[in-house]
């Protein structure tokens, strides 16, 4: 089983440690993981801004680079959601598309659904609160959403509960958007900031020490607000909890 590691473009440039932690976790399960060097971006910024032509160029590129892997795993819910739900418009009917659509996973989803570990040998004695990032939450279905009448579940929490010493804080609004939204963060700057501030405030009110989640982009946005306003909380990407002590 060969895994293609798909690292979002901005994480490659700005979050090498979080990306490395993703690789380490996958390798700790004894998996054969490869990072294809020619990868760049999945095209989500273009697609979400309506630039279908540009997005389709990058989607085709992605397909050619990744179709040879059994599984494609990425430390991002929203980039995976792009592949799974938005690529069809550009790639429908092309060789390998069904394969990448069905076999591209967000990291936690992959661990939870495919690897299914019984235990993790890691400790993180802190109180954390989970940021349910929208695309991982409502598109990929990593946890039950508040809009629906279904039995509550959270794949993220299931995995984090295997961490020694961790405890969870409860939010007032469990799955409201943080306002990152890709280019939305700039196009609708005032809304993005208002939403981000409210989200961070909810996490602080919960008594949490760390906001964690499966999308670094949302955490980057909230961390930006936390640092500017010198707020008493930190963000930590989920792989950075799970990979503690791994070499």
């Amino acid at each position: 089983m060969k895994i293609g590691l798909f690292i979002p473009c901005f994480m490659n440039e700005l979050y090498p440690q979080a990306s490395m932690d993703t690789l380490k976790i996958l390798e700790s399960f004894g998996l054969d993981v490869e990072y294809p060097m020619e990868q760049t971006c999945c095209g989500q910024p273009q697609a979400n801004t309506g630039c279908a032509h540009e997005a389709s160029i990058l989607a085709k590129r992605f397909l050619q680079i990744f179709k040879k892997y059994d599984y494609i795993v990425a430390p991002s819910g929203s980039c995976v959601s792009m592949v799974r739900y938005n690529y069809a418009q550009f790639l429908e009917g092309m060789d390998g598309f069904e394969h990448i659509k069905n076999n591209t996973f967000e990291l936690i989803e992959f661990i939870h659904d495919i690897i299914k570990p019984d235990s993790l040998h890691v400790s993180f004695p802190h109180k954390v609160s989970i940021h349910n990032s929208c695309h991982a939450h409502r598109e990929l279905g990593l946890a039950s959403m508040s809009e629906k009448s279904v039995t509550p579940f959270s794949k993220i929490k299931d995995i984090l509960e295997m961490v020694d010493g961790i405890s969870f804080a409860t939010l007032q609004r469990n799955d409201e958007c943080c306002g990152f939204g890709g280019t939305f963060a700039v196009t609708e700057e005032a809304m993005s900031i208002a939403m981000g501030r409210d989200r961070v405030a909810d996490h602080i009110r919960s008594g949490s020490e760390y906001i964690t989640g499966v999308d670094m982009s949302c955490l980057m946005h909230m961390q930006g607000i936390i640092e500017r306003e010198k707020l008493p909380i930190q963000t930590i990407y989920i792989a950075q909890i799970l990979a503690r002590g791994l070499k």
């Binding site: 979050y15 020619e38 979400n48 630039c51 700057e189």
Partner: protein, 456 residues
Amino acid sequence: MSELGHPRLAQKFASDTKRMHWHDKALWFVREKRDVQTHSLDEWEELRECADKIKTHTLENLAFYLEEFERNTRENGIEVHWAKDADEHNKIVLDILQKHDASKLVKSKSMLTEECHLNPFLEKNGIEVVDTDLGERIVQLRHEAPSHIVLPAIHLKKEDVGKTFEEFLHTQKDNSDPTYLTRAAREHLREKFLGSDASLTGVNFAISETGGIVVCTNEGNADLGASLPKLHIACMGIEKIIPRLEDLAIFTRVLARSATGQPVTTYTTHYHEPQRDGEMHIVIVDNGRSKILANKKYLKSLQCIRCGACINTCPIYRRSGGYSYGYTIPGPIGSTLGASHDIKRNFTLPFACSLCASCTNVCPVKVDLHEQLYLHRQDVVDLGLLDKKKLQALKIATFFMQHPLLMDIGGKIARVVMPLLPRSIVYSKYNIWGKNRELPKFPKNSFKELYKKRKR
């Protein structure tokens, strides 16, 4: 107003942080009430599924059901009129009123007449129009439009209402006690009802099988209006049709729960014939709907039952207010309908959305709202309406992204140079991200560099 576009109007609304938070909380309260109601039903998701299927089927066979409805309605003694656009609709209503020498009209809530701008048209032609829904009456007195489709005065605090009533209804100075104000409104409206020549209502559901219409309200104002004067006009869009009476059971169950978190509206009234010695007219309006019907991408927006749940859940609407959209209907549903209606005028609306998908999942008839907004963005680009600088930046980024070596070099330069630049340059006015947020710290190496080193 819409010339400014959503981002600037939203910024204006949000600049009063206290009021923005008050608005956000007021609507979140309604969303939570809705959750309590919907989560208490085991069959909620099944109800949504049924509602979706009925609406999908109806839209696929809309011509058939509209004609069946017309036939049955006429058999019931109700007159039917067809209007292709807002102008025709307004003229038909005026014509009916003039034929009856009616100069005083009481209206209950109808977003369609807002869409057609009926009130100013009738007023210009000498008709006194009184909106009788309390919220609608408040905004009418203030010469404002509704800022929400179910809660038209949600942008106003009770003190604002007190001042408005003080000015127009001569209530006590600085008295903003809700009970006192409601009683004053009731007295004022009672006179208007009694003195009216005709009434106009909207339509929540038009039942093809029976040729009757159903109006859902909480205040009973539609009932009072339609019962007192002898002339009743009901205006509806072509998409209000449902096939059978038994289908109504699904929709009355999802409508009130989604709209206000009530199990059912206080009044659910069926109108199947004119009152004794009276007349009843139904005006069926297209006004751009058949254009949407013909467009697969946006077709499902015609399934909307105007419950407002997508508006209440929208984190942007709650923080930007109804007027920031500059369109009759705000929020996610308004953004897609507005873009379908006139994309040149409303091109900022598909972007007034973080694609969080809460709307799509809260919608009781499963309108694929956020997916429609995503697709409307492509239309904005195709029509050349996207900001040129933004388009250029994305084109350049796409070029880089096709050449990994250029990406690597660009990234390297940025990681070396950025930490050396003074803060005043990094956080200049061109850095919109950095206006209210710190940028992430630029690391020494990219992941790719670390990966190569590790492999060796």
